[in-house]
Assembly symmetry: C2
Homo-oligomer: 98 residues x 2
DNA sequence: GTCCAATATCGGAGTTTTCCGATATGTAGA
DNA sequence: TCTACATATCGGAAAACTCCGATATTGGAC
């Protein structure tokens, strides 16, 4: 759990938005073909943020390297969901050190 | 209170360290000539982080622009102290949105 | 006024980030 | 196998960040 790496990952409004969207999948990804319990399909973020496919993939990769999301790869799809353990640990760490 | 600006300010280990040092002035700045109740003199950070004067000044300015610290200018000195209101509001915001 | 100390700002070099289009990889189905 | 789709990775351009030394600014002491 690298605090600086997490802060850098959060310090971009698009990545922050991705994490916030994933808090309420049924609200932000109601048109996803796959069940939301599997996680959020990468292409869903693309449609909502207006950035290119490669850029979205890079942002998601940054979140994953920071440990903020986990990926389930099923067939040709990548399903993303929040890593609540890391997020909670980070918030606690920040609250006690900042 | 711009959340992204605050996160960017925090996403650098030196600036984070500055804020953490200011939590316990008597521990980290015990050799300051001026009373610690006035705040922390800019040159104190310089001595402790090993960076140049201009770089330290820029880091402190970044923290100030983000609202994380306040400056009291007294004579030729600049005394910095944490802006606990902004910090607390930011932590609450982060806890409720992230 | 001059001189010195503390801080801020400027200019520039090197690094990192952000974004894109193009390409590669990997899976599913005809 | 061929084709289509989903995602990852590459290469490069533009912007932002980080750092420094040099210079400007400000205030206090003389």
């Amino acid at each position: 759990m690298d605090k600086t790496e997490i802060l850098k990952a959060l310090a971009h409004p698009v990545r922050m938005e991705f994490l916030e969207w994933m808090r309420e999948p049924e609200r932000h990804f109601c048109d996803q073909a796959h069940p939301l319990t599997m996680g959020i399909c990468a292409n869903q973020f693309e449609k909502r943020c207006g950035l290119s496919q490669s850029t979205v993939s890079a942002h998601l990769s940054t979140l994953e390297k920071a440990g903020l999301v986990k990926i389930d790869r099923v067939g040709q799809w990548a399903f993303y969901h929040r890593n609540e353990d890391t997020i909670a640990a980070f918030l606690n760490e920040l609250r006690s050190t900042l």
